[in-house]
Symmetry: C2
Subunit: 126 residues, 2 copies
């Protein structure tokens, strides 16, 4: 099973929030802490300086070599951590990264910014 990578934008600021560390950095810390607490095998959580989704903080991207990549925004720097990890676990449990709509966390349904096929994805239109 391919490793899953959770890229977390640490540059994201919540609107009107000038405090440090930034919301994105707080989300990254919360995710690392929660993942350590839960124990999530096969998951790598990586900070990234910018995912270019600056209008929808906080933002993350979930990727895996053989699966679709998903980008999510509008995430809460603290409250979202557990939900994100639950969503990522469902993602990691699929062969292609596509989680049935009803099984996706509400945050992922509302917050989807984009999705990109993997290099191994069979084209689904022609």
């Amino acid at each position: 099973m391919s490793e899953t990578v959770l890229h977390v934008c640490t540059t994201c600021r919540s609107e009107g929030d000038t405090s440090e560390p930034r919301a994105g950095a707080r989300l990254f810390a919360a995710l690392r802490e929660e993942a350590e607490r839960l124990g999530v095998p096969g998951l790598r959580i990586e900070p990234v300086e910018c995912l270019s989704v600056c209008k929808r903080p906080c933002t993350v991207a979930v990727a895996s070599r053989d699966r679709w990549t998903y980008v999510y925004g509008d995430l809460d720097p603290v409250e979202s951590a557990r939900t994100i990890l639950e969503g990522v676990a469902r993602y990691a449990g699929t062969p292609d990264g596509i989680v049935p709509w009803r099984e996706r966390p509400q945050e992922f349904r509302k917050g989807v910014v984009a999705r990109i096929p993997s290099f191994t994805t069979v084209p689904d239109a022609s």
Copy 2:
């Protein structure tokens, strides 16, 4: 040098435009035609049913195994084809997919939806 893949959403509709083929499918056809005319080595243009950027048609994603992936929206189904291919050529000419801001086509500067690190990208924050 890694192959570059240009994913083109063929489901995208321009606002208020109910004609068939859809704007996304027209963009895909225009890109294939223009790429054939120009001859673009190392580029694979793939149709995809949805990139989940439905509010900013037309949309494409530019990806390569060793480079950042970029997602762009707000593209014109006809006029953008040549510009996209120029932008993709610049992307393919970099080691990591990051084209200096001034060298990016205007459509790519304004239309960026998200970017995602490659699996080989060295984390740039910690």
